[in-house]
């Protein structure tokens, strides 16, 4: 297990180095001059030159690339072109909101998704099964923007159960609708996947054997069937982490929440390269780590994987 852990962890390093290179190339070749955007619609060339110099945009590309690698490894990602806040501070101030949303949505998606999926599989072709399938289909098909808007109209304006969008003074109630909105899609996916893999597993010989041994149905399902049925579900959870990171951009926009998604959208619009690079690197790191965790957990759920 240790060798497997080391092998997988070392595999992350070239990925990170590659991500840094890709982020740099993307932000270099994209058209649009950040200094120019900062100046507004009209600007005097003299000041523009001064600003470009300060941003380091007048240096040759290879010099900028070497400097970028150095900056990343010394965690000196610079300051936003737009408002002069350090990149680290910009990310730090937005991270709690995005993390709350993503973790909350994932907990809801996994807990409800797996539970409903198991229930559906063990009650195949009942009305509860059909109902959960219809809802999960709707969940997958509904865009985040649509779900968010409908939720605000129903729960904030019509029923008045939640105060509205934004963060208020940080009260938990403000997170309820965004977390539900963000969690709906991954939950629906997990419901469907858990149901289908469970159905596959419960028809396998070892499950029949477990039943033939006279084990209680609960023990058959939770002890024998579930562990094997969860492997594809774990894969989906890993992949959904990436999808959540893009989902937060929309959720944060609809609910006016100050998170990393909003920060990155604004940074792209304004060609705020230090922020774009910082956020993309951070998200890539989260994504790589999430996948690493998923990979490592395979080893736990399926010992055969460790010895490959």
């Amino acid at each position: 297990m240790f060798a497997y852990f080391i092998r997988r962890t070392l595999g992350v390093i070239p990925v990170i180095l590659g991500v840094i290179l890709v982020v740099f190339i993307l932000t270099t070749i994209v058209p649009g001059d950040p200094a120019r955007i900062m100046m507004g619609q009209r600007g005097d060339p003299e000041t523009l030159k001064l600003i470009r110099k300060e941003m380091g945009l007048d240096e040759p590309t290879h010099v900028q690339l070497v400097k970028f690698y150095k900056d990343v490894f010394t965690l000196n990602l610079g300051r936003s072109y737009r408002n002069n806040m350090t990149v680290i501070e910009s990310i730090k101030s937005r991270l709690p909101v995005t993390a709350t949303l993503a973790i909350g949505a994932m907990i809801i998606a996994v807990v409800l998704g797996v539970s409903i999926g198991i229930y559906s599989a063990t009650h195949q072709y009942t009305w509860q099964d059909y109902l959960s399938m219809i809802f999960s289909l709707l969940g997958i098909a509904s865009p985040v923007y649509f779900v968010g808007l409908i939720m605000v109209i129903i729960f904030a304006r019509k029923l008045g159960w939640v105060p509205g969008t934004g963060l208020g003074n940080g009260e938990w109630i403000y997170y309820v609708l965004p977390i539900l909105t963000l969690g709906v899609r991954p939950m629906a996916l997990i419901v469907r996947l858990t149901r289908s893999t469970m159905l596959e597993v419960v028809h396998q010989d070892y499950v029949k054997t477990a039943r033939a041994k006279g084990l209680k149905e609960k023990a058959v399902i939770y002890k024998h069937a579930l562990k094997n049925a969860l492997i594809p579900v774990i894969t989906i959870i890993g992949l959904q982490t990436a999808s959540l990171l893009s989902g937060v951009m929309l959720t944060e926009t609809i609910y006016s929440l100050p998170g990393l998604g909003r920060l990155s959208i604004q940074a792209v619009t304004n060609r705020d390269f230090p922020i774009i690079r910082g956020v993309v690197l951070f998200m890539a790191l989260v994504f790589v780590l999430a996948n690493l965790l998923v990979d490592l957990s395979y080893g736990f759920f399926d010992p055969r994987i460790r010895y490959e």
Binding site: P31, D33, R36, Q41, D44, P45, V152, P163
Partner: protein, 541 residues
Amino acid sequence: MKKKLISIILTAVLIVGLSAAVMAETDKYGGVWKDALQSNPPQMDPAQSTDTKSAEMIYQLFETLVEYDSEGNIKPLLAESWDISEDAQTYTFHLRKGVHFHAETEGGTPTANGGREVTAEDWVWTFNHITSPETKSPRAYFIDMIKGYDAYRNGETDKLAGVRAVDKYTLEVELEKPFAPFLGTLAYNTFVVMPKEDVNKWGEDWNFHPVGTGAFKFESWEQDSVVRMSRNDNYWMKDEDGNQLPYLEALEFRIIPDYTMMWEEFQIGNIYQTYVDDPFYLDAKENYPDTFFELPQLGTYYYGMNVEKEPFDDKRVRQAMNYAINREMMIELVQNGRNTPAKGIIPPTMFGYNEELEGYSYNPDKARALLAEAGYQDGFEVTLQYNTSKGHKRVAEALQAQYRQVGIDVKLQNLDWGSHLDSVERGEAAFFRMGWVADYNDPDNFLYVLLHSDNIGPEGNYARFSNERFDTLTEYARLETDPEKRKQAYQQAEKIAVEEAPWVFIYHYTTHSLVQPYVNNYELPAFGQHANLFRDVWISK
């Protein structure tokens, strides 16, 4: 008995009325103004601000020497009065006494300046700070006509020679040459007085800890979430009855990036003011007839034609482009009739606007004839480049259909704002969307800035228009101080530009704002909501 009864009733009515009036007076105080901004203001450092969101914040916290009234006329603010020398090159400002910088900020923390009085020396320091090359202010060039500007910027001198403190309350500004719209430029949100102690204390982080003299002081700024300000109890301004301003206890600007959500929040009652985007515009106008404010804005929406590129190097083609479109129909069709068709460049409420200007009416036959004359009897194909936005797309599609009728095949290409601006400035785009809203209320800000040959490229003349007579007229009007002569010069210059048609003149903007019925003393400024001040707004809720 009857008389006695009547007098008792009258006395009672009088007492109730009087106490209601007294109540109303005291009731004006208090309350938090809840507003929404569509994006996070990037700058609260006036020297670095270039956008309207930042401007709205800065106007509450800081103050300029002069300001615009709601009709767009200059009036005193921190300068009580001013004298202009005969040669129109020296402005002497008599400063208001008893104006203090904020003594506290951010939850009662004392500021570095300690709340001291503003003097002429502070203005000298501020002008030097803004124009210093080290500050790299994107708007310093607005005042490049001040004597010694170039020498200071080039490092030949260590201060801006043209700005001097005559005494504690008298500030003198000397210009290299007369510049008629000078006072107007001073009302721009960059040219506010700043306390050097606080600017120096915060250095690179000054943007996040603004300290000014405004009616409100800075409290907190949660990025992308909310900006909070509180009442400046030591504010110098009083209302007409001698009561201390401002009435409001605090201001809260939430960042709500989505207009649909902004509309929802307004209906819930969580915000008191909102911009209403389609498809809710007509609903809002109908349902809130008394609190829906709408007025012409000092701005023009146009399609620029690069006069150096084919086929727009031919004046007849440019004129045909103007005759081919039905502005009124487009505005009715895609904008709920809310903008004013443009005959020329200068917007209707601006000084120098020419009501008799003929402009281009919808005349497809004339457009076809002009095209044929220019050798394009079969029409031509051209790409219209615009910056990505639903509104621009709708206008472009409506006009595309009209151009097709005269044989011009317009392809649409949208780019994000940065890339669009980049390619337009470099003269790469032959046909492009653009718009302009005034920095200061003077035709100079339209005609000279956007069409003088000195400004070809990033400085504003994107159509690369060059006309000697036009240049002479606009230069003359900058120097001339007689309003009537200036007006004539601008009207002649505009006529030339309309005849030469470097733009398709499309429409003049209107601006609007919807407020809750319990908001009092709200006025929508001619520059738009971003220039609004909440000094005497009060809430009756």
